[in-house]
Subunit: 162 residues, 2 copies
């Protein structure tokens, strides 16, 4: 698996799984009916942000991540990141590889910490993955997320020093 900067040519491979994940409404605080154009603007970042893809040996896009400053000004030393793994490629370590990449990116860029603003507490695989990468739950917004099946569930704010 290779992780490299996303190019405009990667978008047609990213959009189908990104769309499926967002439309499911179970893990992302994005409008479930997001348009392709809105999604591209929100996902494909210019510096100081960065968007990458994880690709297989044959060039198949397995997942994508974006990383960016979380705050501005006197809090601009805090980074954030978001991750999407194509459901058909789950369980292959793509999320972990993208997470490690994002942490290295943030360290290299001089950030002092990474903060995730909205990790749905019922997304237990993601929560466990971030914990295994050294993140802690700073706090949980009670009933912060309206899950289509489970109703109102908590939204974790997670944090890791770099």
């Amino acid at each position: 698996m290779l992780i490299r900067e996303a190019t405009p040519g990667d978008w047609p491979a990213i959009w189908p799984f990104l769309h499926r994940i967002v439309a499911a409404g179970e893990t992302y605080t994005w409008p479930r009916d997001v348009s392709e154009e809105q999604a591209r603007e929100m996902w494909c970042l210019e510096p100081p942000g960065r968007t990458v893809v994880a690709v297989d040996d044959d060039g198949t896009v397995l997942g994508s991540a974006k990383m960016n400053p979380n705050h501005m000004g006197p809090a601009s030393h805090i980074s954030s990141a978001s991750f999407m793994v194509a459901p058909e490629h789950a369980g292959r370590g793509v999320g972990r590889a993208l997470g490690e990449y994002a942490l290295n990116w943030a360290r290299t860029e001089g950030y002092r910490a990474m903060q995730f603003n909205a990790v749905v507490e019922t997304n237990t695989r993601a929560v466990a993955l971030w914990r295994s990468l050294g993140f802690e739950v700073l706090g949980t917004l009670p009933e912060g997320f309206h899950h289509p099946v489970k109703g109102y569930v908590g939204l974790h704010i997670m944090h890791r020093r770099l």
Copy 2:
């Protein structure tokens, strides 16, 4: 004191104290060297956001607040708000009046909670005010804010159900 929707004509009265507060770098996670145009874009919101001013009997602008969704999609029932009180009018209850206004606005708009993403822990007056209005600290981002005098201090995430 009257709180009313801000109009373009209020900006020349807002900018001096907003600029002074942001440039001080002690309480806001905005670039300290923010330009007037950037500041106006970030402060003066279109629906679904709202920007208001608190004015004296003689029309003097004492402070301003903006209120807006904090998240999108399945978390769009969470609101946020930001407040600026002209330092020369501090201690007159302007912040409290704007805070109560924002909570009422959010309730009326159908939000289920208000979340502040970044309250500097050394801004003890603000923290005490929000606590007195029913907010709790959900968590604190350690060393999340670089204070010009106190160095790295915590950033509270505060929350109140509506």
